[in-house]
Amino acid sequence: MAERSFAKEVQLLKKRAGEEFIGEGILAVTKALLQCGVGYVGGYQGAPISHLMDVLADARETLDELGVHFEVGASEASAAAMLSTSMHFPIRGAVTWKSTVGTNVASDALANLSSGGVTGGALVIVGEDYGEGSSIMQERSHAFAMKSQIWMLDPRPNLPSIVKAVEDGFNLSEASNTPVMLQLRIRTCHVHGSFIAKDNKRPTYSLEQARNNPQKDASRIILPPMAFDQEQDKVQRRWPAAVDYIKTNKLNEFFNGDMTDIGIILQGGMYNGVITALRQLGLADIYGNTRVPLYCLNVTYPLVDDEVVAFCDGKSKVLMVEEGQPEHLEQAIHTILRRAGVTAPLYGKGDLPMAGEYTGQVLRDGIAAFMARGGKPTKPKPPILTDILSQDLNNAVPPRPPGFCTGCPERPIFSALTLAQEELGERHITCDIGCHLFSTLPPFNIGAGTMGYGLGAASASAMNVDAGQRTISIMGDGGFWHNGLTSGIGNAVFNRNDNVILIVDNYYAAATGGQDILSSRAKNAQRSTSHPIEDAVRGVGVKWVRRVDDTYNVGILTDVLKEALSTPERGPKVVIAASECMLNKQRREKPLKRAALAAGTRSVVQRFGVDSDICTGDHACMRISGCPSLTMKTLDDPLVDDPVAFVDESCVACGHCGEVADAAVLCPSFYRADVVHNPNTVDRLLNATRRRFLTALQNRRAGKQLMEQR
């Protein structure tokens, strides 16, 4: 993590027994790992678990003290493969990523791991990116747990429960020789709360010991006949051991209520939502006291049949609150009840929607529908706004999807692509995962979607025939190192692909928070950086490579793209467009600039601007830029109808608007102003001389011509 310091968070990791830890959910998990004597931690960054990785990356000192190894994986697959150490040695290991996308990537390693089984506790922390604010397809990680027999924890969303789940996870893993997934929803990762800390623990078996004690265990190998034995072992030994551990240690919780003939079974992560809904219906209070009995599944896989049967038996109706689809839990519980001959009716999807996030409103409506079964339905409340007011409101409020930041170096790339296409015609463009995917939204509307991280180039590989126009594939530097070098570039070389691949190099894994990667330019004491993408691309055999080191130069970039699209040369054409992520650049430079200003050092502050009397308000610049700081201003001029362009104070002087106005031949309204703070004598003299001269000419004209003072 180059440009952002997590020193404050690192201090939290040092809390001693009895001290109060106050912070975010995902940081509580990080601290809990150290309290559990974890031996190594790995993962691949992504919301909502980036913080875990970022903080550990900055916590070198603490980790060294404890003898804990931390590693950022090349991908989720390499992170999952790390857990192999826990297969062979009694060392606790934890890995983390964004799910389900990361679990998709990791599933090969995970399947191998869970088939062979583990000796030391193996914990997979999945940040479930589901519902509002999610940036991925809406799926569940639950199916991965079921298919590989990995146990799944879904704790109640408060810090003490989350911390306990980490401890339970390691213990359960060791008791059943099975890896365990800890599922945390996005809001749970970011929930702010507190818990009482314990001391950090050194691992009982060190990595050094492991290196000096090579292990060979044929029974762990995934080959026949061992693979068949492993399957039997899973079902006959590990599964019952897990159920036994869960039951004995009461990992699932029962909350009693006086309405004993009904009940709600819920995923632990749904607990706060369910209590809130019940409270709004007058059936619970803010302290968690409830009239409806609750069976809270802090372990959602495997289920404990006895507990399910005991909870449901004799009830007139039971509700299953299970977010996401398909309804794995509801189906499983139906099976359990049927096998046990329990007749209590089970409701779930139906009263609650099959798909989509279980928001406060959804839960309240769903539980109300369940409560009303057999009674009379509740009347919906009348709307607050009249039809007219509500219609006007809906017409006024514009959609506001995320987009490129102010000064983003990727914006000019898509301006150039727009201009190149204006000249050469539209092309089929396949995209990738990363900030650059914002190109698919207005104002650029470029691209035909994405097939996954690093797969931008691979997703155009079928369109490789000797006829028609070249396609363009986009790939970020993050995706490039994740797998794109082989799946995209190498693949294109091998298959003699004739299309264009545009690699966006912004020096970081920017979309996930600005982490360093192989090609980052920053000096990183702990990692080896500055390995150019160009070398790697040439290394796998690409002959036609162009690197543009200043993406803001829209003119040059447009020319390079046009060349790539039209050159007679065969084989993949790779354009590398490189400029530093502005968010991270500003993080580094802003404090320096502020300090320089305060210290009285000569410094130049740049800003872009628009001459409001030259701008005609057609907004062509905005349609080709979309920069948040390039906005509009309504003039107090009776002769002007439309708002004119205006650069607000958030401008970081990347220069894109001026470049575009030039490259697209838009208008002469843009200017750049460089203000010299703490000027030196030369500045002062030069400025004074120039101003005297300019003023003389201006005065001369003022004497001859009537001018309007606006």
Binding site: Q280, Q361, L389, A396, V397, G403, D636, P638
Partner: protein, 508 residues
């Protein structure tokens, strides 16, 4: 069972645009609640989804007691006590989502705008209706506080989080004293003085009213300065002409137009403007002088077109340098360098050639010559050389009337004037709409060409429309459609409709 507690936490939703500082407000409120001995839970949905998009921070808080509360992780419709919107449309979004309810919600909205890409992409005026938010807020909030907290913040060199916190303190939605809020800012330790100033200013705004009326400073009409005594006298005479001969309804616009064209060329040009304008007075059919008012506005725009001389002139003015200094926050003594981004095309250069060159100006040789002077240029107008380049260009002004661009503009102007006049004889309402279509012509280079083709398309529909009673209405619709998007999709759709009813053929 009657032992359920009635205690309820305070629910707070902060609606913001990613990168605006909603997270800062949230963390201040967390610190505030904790300092007051309350239990607080805050959540958000950060990540890439938040970057410059709409986002919500949600908090619940209550006094600490023996038992720990179970709080929600997201707001529910009808269950929020305080909604804080860091931008005006986001206030609308909060209402849309049902978080603002008349029985319990205090709504604090900053009226400043961060325009969405959708609004900015419209070639005309795509700005959303702010009044719709105000009306919905008044109808749905229990208490509604609004002010331009964005401007308050920048006036005090701070960011909106500080002024929002001031408004929250002023609303009394949280039972904490002002001092407690200020302590939180002080403890945060970053930009404390500026934050406190913005906090205080925002807080004090709401002393008398929840929706303080902002005195909108009446914008004084522009003034003419400089020039020779005869020029000034002639200008005064023309002003008098407007006052004596034009209806009151037209006077302000005519005066504004006159100033613009005199500023563009000279007093003689101003006289031409008024001569043109006067001809429309006799064509008015109503009493409100609608046609002349519209012509006063758009004739000025058409006559004061944006040619190279005009741009060079505007870029080199003393007032322009003052405006730039004010905009970038540079004081009078600070050294300022100014780089202009210009890209004259051969066409613009041809416009500067004298009319007598005729077809020779279009010859390959001439175009080649001119291409040497065209293309992307960065001109430093703070330096003697750069300034002189533009200053000399703008000195061509006295010869403008003899240049190619001017004659082309005048031909187009003449056609438009004739069309408006001819139409006014039979349908004054339609003539007003034709006058207003001049608004479509704008931009430079290709954009200008595109806008002109839209104008021609709209005006071209007149042959189908002019005998209809609702012709004015249709022309207005076409004009609105032309301004709705850049590619002319809306316009083509509207034109297809016009074609279908005019020719009786249903057009796909």
């Amino acid at each position: 069972m009657n032992s359920l507690s009635k205690d309820t936490p305070l629910a707070i939703a902060i609606h913001a645009i990613g990168g605006q500082g909603g997270g800062v407000v949230s963390s201040w409120l967390v610190a505030l609640a904790q300092a007051q001995g309350w239990v607080v839970q805050a959540t958000s949905v950060p990540g890439v989804a938040q970057r410059t998009g709409a986002t919500i921070y949600y908090l619940e808080m209550m006094p600490a007691g023996a038992a720990s509360p179970v709080m929600a992780l997201m707001p529910s419709p009808g269950q929020v006590d305080l909604v804080v919107a860091a931008e005006w449309m986001e206030a609308g979004r909060a209402i849309q989502r049902g978080f603002v309810s008349p029985d319990r919600t205090t709504l604090i909205g900053s009226t400043h705008r961060g325009y969405s890409v959708m609004e900015k992409s419209v070639p005309g005026n795509g700005i959303s209706d702010a009044g719709a938010i105000e009306a919905a807020a008044l109808a749905s909030a229990k208490r509604f506080l609004r002010a331009d907290l964005g401007t308050i913040a920048s006036l005090h060199n701070s960011v909106i989080s500080a002024s929002l916190l001031g408004a929250i303190a002023a609303s009394n939605a949280l039972p904490f004293p002002r001092q407690a809020f200020e302590d939180v800012i002080k403890q945060a330790g970053i930009g404390v003085q500026a934050s406190l100033a913005a906090f205080g200013a925002a807080h004090d705004l709401f002393t008398d009213s929840d929706q303080p009326d902002v005195e909108k400073a009446s914008i004084p009409a522009s003034e003419m300065t400089g020039g020779t005594i005869p020029q000034q006298q002639e200008f005064a005479a023309m002003q008098k002409w407007i006052k004596d001969e034009f209806p009151i309804a037209v006077q302000a616009m005519a005066s504004a137009g006159l100033k613009r064209v005199v500023d563009f060329q000279d007093v003689t040009y101003g006289r031409e403007y008024l001569d043109h304008l006067a001809q429309f007075l006799v064509l008015e059919t109503g009493t409100d002088a609608k046609l002349t008012t519209a012509m006063a506005k758009y004739l000025a725009g058409a006559m004061a077109y944006h040619d190279t001389i005009r741009v060079a002139d505007l870029k080199t003015r003393a007032t322009r340098f003052d405006r730039v200094r004010a905009e970038v926050g540079a004081n009078d003594t600070q050294a300022l360098t100014l780089t202009e981004f210009m890209h004259p095309r051969v066409e613009e250069m041809q416009g500067l050639l004298p009319r007598f060159l005729g077809r020779f100006a279009d010859s390959g040789f001439m175009r080649w010559m001119l291409s040497l002077f065209s293309g992307g240029k960065r001109i430093r107008t703070d330096t003697l050389r750069g300034f002189l380049t533009l200053y000399l260009l703008s000195s061509l002004r006295p010869w403008r009337r003899s240049l190619r661009r001017h004659s082309a503009e005048m031909d187009s102007l003449e056609r438009w004037l004739t069309l408006v006049k001819e139409t006014a004889k039979t349908d004054c309402g339609l003539a007003v709409e034709i006058a207003k279509c001049r608004r479509l012509v704008k931009g430079y280079g290709d954009t200008h060409a595109r806008s002109q083709s839209k104008y021609i398309k709209v005006i071209g529909s007149l042959k189908l429309l002019k005998h209809r009673d609702d012709a004015a209405d249709w022309l207005k619709r076409l004009r609105t459609a032309a301004l709705a998007d850049a590619d002319g999709v809306a316009l083509d759709g509207a034109l297809a409709t016009v074609n279908s009813f005019a020719t009786g053929v249903k057009n796909g």
